[in-house]
């Protein structure tokens, strides 16, 4: 079932493969790993998603170098004589917004906000989810029951409504948004991890380690935790798409990242009432959010199929 850990299979296979003439990494990808990984690397959609994720990351990291203009500058030539935003042209590639700012540059900077929150918030959510599920499953007893009861309670909470209430009340900022998303997004993962820990605890190698006198901490860290890595990787990817969409939605509602910091949801919020006159102000950021969420979803789903075909994803 678990083909993620390939450490013991690689050396032997390397010896048998060195005469095929292909570069070593390529051999590992297509022959050394399980057939499911072969499918992962050969699926055009998954590869397209991977490429998009790489491009988006580069965009976020090198935003100052890539953006042709200052994203916060109001260009006098960025507004028409009547004071309306300008449609895409050779100078402003994606057009300008209501204040005459360059939309292309703002979109590039917006990638920073989206990915930063997506990765940070989801990373924190994965940590919380793994921690809660691991402790509940491993310790068991009253602590475990209480933790899982609490998790059950959390699944019945109206997530988006709570996020709106929390961010509206706690003066919205980038960090608050990330924190709120992290605090709401760990729940389903905790349940999955809990189930897996129960399964791992009854595996022979864990019993063997215990009977050899390994301490509880050692069993937990060396034998159970590594078994959770595949799930954490899959959720670490899939969850980014949820977090990015949640951030965009909060920013659209005005309780997310605050202007003048450019965020994709915020750009649409600012220009919503003018969308019939300046549709590019909704179209470009909208496409970016869709592309980002879709790529992380496809990539995560590809990873899931390669790593663990039995895992099911619940809805946020």
């Amino acid at each position: 079932m678990n083909n993620f850990d390939t450490r013991d299979s690689i050396p032997g296979k390397l010896e048998r493969m060195t005469d095929t003439g292909l570069p070593l990494t390529r051999q590992l990808q297509t022959r050394g790993l399980a057939p499911r990984w072969k499918r992962f690397w050969r699926d055009p959609l998954v590869m397209l998603a991977l490429l998009t994720v790489v491009v988006l990351t580069l965009m976020a990291v090198f935003a100052p170098q890539l953006a042709p203009k200052n994203p916060d500058l109001n260009f006098p030539e960025g507004l028409s004589d009547a004071g309306a935003p300008i449609a895409p042209n050779s100078s402003f590639w994606f057009g300008t917004d209501l204040l005459g700012r360059d939309l292309f540059s703002r979109i590039i900077y917006g990638a920073r906000v989206s990915l930063l929150i997506g990765v940070l918030a989801n990373g924190a959510a994965v940590l919380i989810g793994v921690f809660v599920g691991l402790i509940a499953g491993f310790v068991g007893g009253i602590v475990g029951t209480l933790l899982m009861r609490f998790t059950d309670l959390m699944t019945a909470f109206p997530v988006l409504l709570l996020a709106i209430a929390l961010t509206a009340i706690l003066k919205p900022s980038l960090w608050i948004v990330a924190l709120v998303i992290a605090l709401l997004n760990w729940v389903s993962l905790a349940r999955v991890v809990y189930g897996q820990v129960l399964g791992l605890k009854s595996r022979e190698y864990v019993t063997a380690a215990e009977s050899l006198g390994a301490s509880q901490t050692r069993v937990l860290l060396r034998h159970v935790l590594p078994g959770l890595l595949p799930t954490a990787v899959v959720w670490g990817t899939l969850g980014i798409s949820t977090s990015v969409m949640l951030e965009a939605t909060l920013s659209f509602l005005g309780v997310g990242v605050q202007p003048p910091t450019p965020s994709w949801g915020g750009i649409i919020n600012e220009s919503q009432s003018y969308f019939t006159l300046a549709p590019w102000l909704v179209a470009f950021p909208g496409i970016m959010i869709l592309l980002t969420a879709l790529s992380f979803n496809l990539l995560g789903e590809g990873l899931r199929e390669a790593i663990d075909p039995s895992a099911k994803r619940t809805r946020f």
């Binding site: 959609l45 059950d152 309670l153 019945a156 909470f157 109206p158 997530v159 988006l160 409504l161 709570l162 709106i164 209430a165 929390l166 509206a168 009340i169 706690l170 003066k171 798409s241 969409m245 965009a248 939605t249 659209f252 509602l253 005005g254 309780v255 949801g265 649409i268 919503q272 969308f275 019939t276 549709p279 909704v282 179209a283 909208g286 959010i289 869709l290 969420a293 879709l294 979803n297 496809l298 789903e301 809805r315």
Partner: protein
């Protein structure tokens, strides 16, 4: 029966937890609620009077007991900006939201279920991959982007539907479609995988082997079982939609509970925002309970006893 009682008990626990949480939020609030009610220009004396009226000068624990008692009686406090009771406000807006939700669920079923079945009939085919790709796009597009795009194309470029507002059947199509499309993506995926599982089972093979038409096998044997998880999904949708309507109603100007939140965010009307959170929790509990009650009706193997 025991399981059902447990679920009801759990539901009550959820509602209690949400009450504690909303109370905690109101207490942690950085701004002074008495000042918000009084307005920025009111004198210190007026603010103090209002604080006394609202009972905000009492000890926290006493405030909480009073608050809980009020919530149990269905009293969610007063709106800061409109001098109306929040419960009344919510109840006056709820029918419009329920209407929108119902239409949204209808679209989810109409789009998602056939897509899932079609995809499962020829797994790996061009149609299957296309539909699954669409379902991925459906779950990856934020509702406000979808809503604004639908408005632009079907209300502005080609004025088939009105640009916003509510009242007639034409008004509900676009917002309900927006609400339904992202859910339809999930439905399609779940129905597809359930169908594939059911189609591989012995009783389906038996039916095929004894010469039952393939179309009959699918409708009479496979579909019945493959659609069972959809019941639970509809139940949890009611809760998911409570978040979705905030976005959809604000995009389409639909005067329901979601629009109420959107307006309340603008003026930081905390009691209204927290009231809707509690309403959302009630809806989730009701939705899950309804699904629990519907399961035994749809599947005679499920019995609570």
């Amino acid at each position: 029966m025991r399981l059902l009682l447990e679920r009801i008990f759990q539901g009550i626990l959820v509602l209690l937890a949400v009450s504690v949480l909303t109370f905690g939020l109101a207490v942690l609030l950085p701004a002074d609620p008495a000042r918000m009610v009084a307005g920025p220009s009111a004198s210190v004396q007026t603010v103090n009077n209002i604080r006394h009226e609202l009972g905000l000068d009492k000890p926290i624990l006493e405030q909480f007991v009073i608050y809980l008692g009020k919530v149990l009686r269905g009293d969610l406090g007063r709106s800061y900006k409109q001098s109306v009771n929040v419960t009344e406000l919510l109840l006056s807006r709820l029918p419009a939201t329920l209407e929108l939700m119902l239409a949204g669920i209808l679209f989810e079923l109409l789009l998602g279920v056939p897509a899932g079945i079609l995809a499962a009939l020829r797994p790996g085919s061009f149609l299957d991959r296309g539909l699954m790709m669409l379902s991925f796009a459906g779950v990856s597009v934020p509702q406000f982007v979808l809503g604004l795009s639908l408005l632009y194309v079907f209300a502005f470029k080609f004025p088939i539907f009105p640009l916003g507002g509510f009242g007639t059947l034409a008004h509900i199509i676009l917002p309900a479609l927006t609400l339904g499309i992202s859910g339809a993506g999930w439905y399609a995926r779940v129905v597809r995988s359930e169908m594939l599982e059911v189609l591989g089972q012995d009783y389906v093979r038996t039916a095929t082997a004894k010469g039952v038409l393939r179309s009959k096998v699918i409708t009479n044997h496979a579909l019945k079982n493959a659609l069972l998880p959809v019941i639970g999904m509809i139940g949890s949708d009611i809760g998911v939609f409570m978040g979705g309507v905030v976005v959809v109603e604000s995009v389409f100007g639909w005067a329901g509970v979601g629009k109420l939140v959107w307006d309340a965010i603008r003026v930081v009307d905390i009691p209204v925002i927290l009231g809707v959170v509690q309403l959302g929790a009630v809806m989730i509990v009701i939705g899950n309970l309804l699904a629990d009650l519907a399961y035994p009706l749809a599947d005679p193997r499920v019995r609570y006893g």
